[in-house]
Symmetry: C2
Subunit: 197 residues, 2 copies
């Protein structure tokens, strides 16, 4: 196959991410659910704005690419709510790996492998780039829910400890943002937007 044909096939396949809806809602658009494509745009931009908070050097281009591709697997695997049960998260992992192989496999071989590696690096969250990217993905819903009277936290009876656990990457990779999250979570508990536990 001509490389361009493969690249276009991939670009059209990922259009489907615009039809994968998350629990988070878009306040500016009548609280409709947010889709994973626009969410990926938002966190990629968050990484540009928050880059200076990284406590060790990060390569913002790699971080940005990770954020642009990290949710593509949801085209096959669907979005699992961040605060779903542990066994659901485990089942989701295999579905996402299969999806990554299928979808990045649409690209010409070398670039497909590069994207797959980048996606795996994000998932494994061992490198500074991946940890900073994960932190961006996880902190944005905090901002969104806080500005929307609790948003998807309130609707889904999410607990304070769950939000803190989900944001622990911030603690080492962006300590100033971690301090901010702790403050916000306390405000949320006081407003009954999060369950105190």
């Amino acid at each position: 196959m001509h490389p361009l044909t493969a690249q276009i096939t991939f670009m059209l396949e990922i259009d489907k991410l615009k039809a994968v809806y998350r629990k988070t809602v878009v306040q500016a658009d009548n609280n409709r659910h947010e889709n994973s494509a626009e969410h990926s745009w938002h966190i990629a931009l968050l990484a540009q704005v928050m880059a200076d908070y990284a406590s060790e050097p990060v390569d913002i281009l790699r971080v940005t690419k990770m954020l642009l591709i990290h949710d593509i697997v949801e085209i096959d695997a669907g979005d699992l709510f961040a605060f779903a049960e542990e066994h659901d998260h485990q089942a989701q992992e295999q579905k996402e790996l299969d999806a990554a192989n299928r979808i990045f496999g649409l690209l010409p071989e070398q670039s497909g492998q590069d994207m797959l590696s980048l996606w795996l690096e994000f998932e494994q969250a061992q490198s500074a780039d991946a940890q900073f990217a994960k932190a961006m993905d996880r902190v944005l819903p905090v901002l969104q829910n806080m500005s929307n009277h609790g948003g998807s936290w309130k609707t889904n009876k999410v607990k304070k400890s769950q939000v803190l656990k989900r944001n622990t990457y911030l603690q080492t990779i962006a300590p100033k943002l971690w301090d901010y999250v702790i403050e916000q979570v306390d405000i949320a508990v006081n407003n009954a937007w999060l369950v105190d536990d």
Copy 2:
């Protein structure tokens, strides 16, 4: 104001881009209109996939940032159809400049100015980075409409010459993609998806 407060205000303000709808439709989501946030995600990723087609060296991080921010002005100015009348395009320009000043102005001073410059560079389309970014923004709807039986071209009776004119940046900055567009436009005319002129 604390820089973090300003950065968060900006990140929440741009959430509104998810409520700005374009003429292009999302085939995978019952042909609903596409919004400018998810479109920005899609073209930012297109730039990663198509980077090797650039005929002169481009800085993909700068290109990506341009693509992530280029439509933010539509929060105030709205999306103008690519093939609107010339006088509408001129009126739109001033609205977008005002919007850029207001929205990027929400950021801490230096980073707001950096984003404003990057946005102006994109608009002026003089640098290789800006031309490649513009080319990505303009070629994606070609792929989307071709895979969707003419999509927004057919609905809006768009002419062949309009699509070619809009994609001329490709001719110098990514000649292989330009050749592809010419082929596709001919197919579109044969299918009556574009008006021959």
